[in-house]
C-alpha cells in the first residue's frame, strides 16, 4: 500500500510545486502541466469519438448514414432501430450464448494458462523451452487456415453445434498469448517465494495455489481482457461451427442484420451498441481490478 501511494504522489503536481522555489519556474511548469493536460484530453476526445459516433450511427436512417453529411448528428433520433434490433426474438438468446461462450473461454484459458505457465517458467525440466516455443507458435497462426481442419475435427468429435465447438477453439487460440504474458510475469517473481514455502513444508500444488495465484492476479486480469475481446467479437468460427439458433452468439446475430441486397444500417448500429455496452462495462471493472491488484502491494515481494 505504501509503495503504491508513493508512486501515485511522487511526480504529481504537489511535489512539483514544493520543488519549485522560483515563481517564474513555477509558471512555466504550470503551463507545461496545462499543456500536457490539454494534449491528454485532446487524445481522449479522439479515442472516445468512435463510441459516440457508433451511438449516433445507431439512431440514424440509411439516408443519413450514407448521405451528404455522414458524420453529423442524427436529424431525428430513430429509437425504432433499437426496438427492431431488440425485437428480433433471438437477441436475448444470442446474448446469453455469447456470455456463456466468452465466460467459459476466459475462465478456462486463465486457469490452463496459469498452470502451464507455472510449469514452464518455474519448474525445472529439459523441454520447458521447447514447450514454450510450441505454444508461442500458436500466436503466429492465421485463424482462417485452420477453419476446415477444425470443422472436420469438431464434426468427427460430435462437438459441432455445441458450445464446446466455440469454446475449445477460442481457448486454443487464446492460450499462446496468455501463456506468453504469464511466463513473462512469472519470470519477474523472486525465487525466495517458493523456497521459503518449501521450507515450511508446502507441496508444489500448495505453492502454486496459495502463493503464486494471488500474485499473478494483475497479469490474469490483463489476459482476461484480451481473451474476452477476441472471443466476444469473433465472427468466423462462430458462424461456421454452429448452425442452430440455440447456440449462436451475439456477433453472428448482429451480422445477421446484414441482408443479401439491402441492409438497415441503423439497426445494425443499434445491435453493435447493445454488444459493445457489456464490453465497456467489463473493461472498466476489469481495469479497476488491474489497478487494484497493483496498489494492494501484492507485488512488493
Amino acid at each position: 500500500m505504501e509503495s503504491a501511494k508513493r508512486v501515485k504522489e511522487a511526480p504529481g503536481y504537489q511535489v512539483q510545486s514544493s520543488h519549485a522555489p522560483k515563481k517564474s519556474k513555477f509558471g512555466i511548469k504550470n503551463i507545461k502541466a496545462y499543456g500536457e493536460k490539454f494534449i491528454l484530453l485532446f487524445i481522449a476526445a479522439i479515442q472516445i469519438y468512435p463510441l459516440l459516433w457508433l451511438i449516433m450511427f445507431s439512431l440514424k436512417s440509411n439516408q443519413e448514414i450514407f448521405g451528404k453529411n455522414p458524420l453529423a448528428l442524427p436529424q431525428k433520433l430513430l429509437w425504432g432501430n433499437y426496438e427492431r434490433a431488440l425485437l428480433d426474438g433471438n437477441i436475448g438468446r444470442y446474448f446469453i450464448n455469447s456470455v456463456i461462450v466468452t465466460a467459459a473461454a476466459v475462465v478456462i484459458t486463465s486457469v490452463l494458462a496459469a498452470m502451464a505457465s507455472y510449469g514452464i517458467s518455474r519448474m525445472k525440466w529439459k523441454l520447458s523451452g521447447t514447450m514454450l516455443m510450441i505454444f508461442l507458435l500458436g500466436m503466429m497462426i492465421p485463424m482462417h487456415s485452420t477453419l476446415l481442419p477444425l470443422f472436420i475435427f469438431l464434426k468427427k468429435a460430435q462437438l459441432y453445434n455445441t458450445y464446446v465447438a466455440l469454446v475449445l477453439p477460442y481457448i486454443g487460440f487464446s492460450l499462446p498469448m496468455a501463456i506468453f504474458v504469464l511466463v513473462g510475469f512469472f519470470g519477474t517473481l523472486p525465487r525466495e517465494l517458493e523456497e521459503s514455502a518449501c521450507l515450511d513444508g508446502a507441496n508444489i500444488y500448495q505453492i502454486f495455489a496459495s502463493i503464486m495465484l494471488p500474485l499473478i492476479k494483475p497479469a490474469v486480469a490483463t489476459i482476461s481482457i484480451f481473451t474476452y475481446l477476441s472471443c466476444w467479437n469473433e465472427l468466423m468460427f462462430a458462424t461456421t461451427f454452429v448452425s442452430r439458433q440455440e447456440y449462436k452468439t451475439l456477433t453472428v446475430g448482429i451480422m445477421g442484420m446484414v441482408g443479401q441486397y439491402a441492409t438497415r444500417w441503423g439497426e445494425l448500429g443499434a445491435g453493435l451498441v447493445i454488444a459493445t455496452i457489456p464490453t465497456v462495462i467489463i473493461y472498466i471493472s476489469m481495469s479497476k481490478q488491474v489497478q487494484k491488484s497493483f496498489t494492494t502491494g501484492a507485488l512488493k515481494g
Binding site: 450514407f66 476446415l148 470443422f151 472436420i152 453445434n161 445477421g256 441486397y261 439491402a262 441492409t263 438497415r264
Partner: protein, 446 residues
Amino acid sequence: MKKIWSKLLACAVSGIVALSSAGCGTSQVSSNESNKPAAEAASGEQKEAASGEKVTLNVWHLWTTDSDANAKSFMKVFEQYKAEHPNVEVVIDASENEAYKTKLKTAMAANEGPDVFFSWGAGFAQPFVDAGQVLPIEEYLTDDQKANLIESQRTNLTYDGKLYGLPFVSWVGILYCNQEVFEQNGVKVPDTYEEFLAAVETFSSKGIVPLTVGAKDGWPLMFFQNILALRQAGADGSNAALDKAASFNQPEFVQSAQMLTDLVKAKAFDDAALALTYDEAKMAFLSGEVPMTYMGSWLAGEIQDENLSTVKGKVVAKNFPSIAGTKGNKDEFLGGAIDCFMVNNNTKHKKEAAEFAAYMAEHMARESFLLGAGLPAWKVDTTGETIDPLVQQMVELANNSTGFVLAWDTKLSGEAAEKHKTLVQEVFAGTKTPQQFVDEMDAANK
C-alpha cells in the same frame, strides 16, 4: 518425461487419424454421417422416416433479416410449408451473405453439407456438382412442377444436361432513371447510346454525378463492362467467350473496355467510385442525388419502399440503351436465374429434401415476384394481385427479351471471377488498357 511424450504422440496420432478419415480430396459419399450432433437422434430419425413419420431436414440459407424481398418471401412460404407438412421438421440456419459462402464451402469441403441449401448456379456450384455432392433433382419433380418451371430458367442450373438446382426468380439488369431529376435538368431519358452519352454530358456539366456505382465491391462496376460487352458482342458472342468457345481477344470485347474508359473520361461516374461500396453508391440514387444507376432488378423493391428511399414513384426502368452498328440489341439482358435451392446428394431424406426445395422454389417465385425481387422462374398466377408499377415495367422489358448473359462473376469459376472483377477495376482506374484487359481475361478463363 518420455512417458509424457509418448502419450502426447499417441494422442496426436489418434487425432490425425480421426481427421484424415474424413478425407479431403475424395468425393466419396458417406451416408452414415448425419448433420445432427447426437448419433442416437439420427438413428431414431431413420426409423421414423421409414414408417412415414417425422423427418428432420437441415436447411441453410442467407436471409438473416427481412430487409430484402426474397427474405420476406421465404419466411412467408416457409410458414405455409410448415402448415402443410406437419411430418417434416425443418431446422433452418441462416448466415449473412459473406459468412454464408465461407461456411457453405467449408461444410461442403468436409463433405458435411446440410440437406437443402441456398446456392448460386453456374460457376459457384460447379465444384459441388463435380464432386458429386449435389442431387440431380429433375426426377423428384412432379409433372406439374416440371411443366411450371420455365425452360429458359434452367440454363444456369443445368450441368452436363442434368438439372441440379431450382431457381425461384431471375434478375435482369436495368437502367434506373430518376425522371424527376431528368425533367428538372431538361434531359431526355435515354433510348439510344447517343442519348445516354448526351445525358451523361449534361448532368456532368451541371455538377451532377450522372451514374452511381459501388466500384469498391467490384461487381457493381463489372456490370457496366458486362452490359457494354453484351451490346457489342451480343448474347451469343458473350456466352461463347465465357464458355471458352471463343477468345475474348475480339474487337467487341476490346471495345467494351474502351467504352468504359470513355465513360470515365466523360465523368459519368463519381471520382471516388473506387472508394464506394454498393450500399453507399446505392444510397446516392435512393436519395435522389444521382439520376441514373445500372443495377439488378432487386433494387426495385428498395426504390419503392418509402422507408428506404426518397425516390418512390419517380423512377423509370429502362433497357440499357442499344448501340448503333453492333451485334447486340436493347432486348438482350444481363441477368438470369442464378439464386437457387440445391439438395445434398448425401442426404438421408432425398425425397423430402427435394420436395421441400421444389415447394419453396415454386411458391417463392410468386411471392418474391410480387415483392419486387425479380421475375418469376416459374409460371405463376398473379391474377387479382396489384403489381408495383416499376416491377410491371421490368416485366414488360423482360417479356421482350431475346437473350440473357449472366453477370460474368457468377458465370465464371472462382479464380477467373475474382480476376475479372479486378481487371474491370483496373480498366476503370486506367492502369490496364482494353487490350491488356482482353488478353488477361483469356489467360484467366482457360
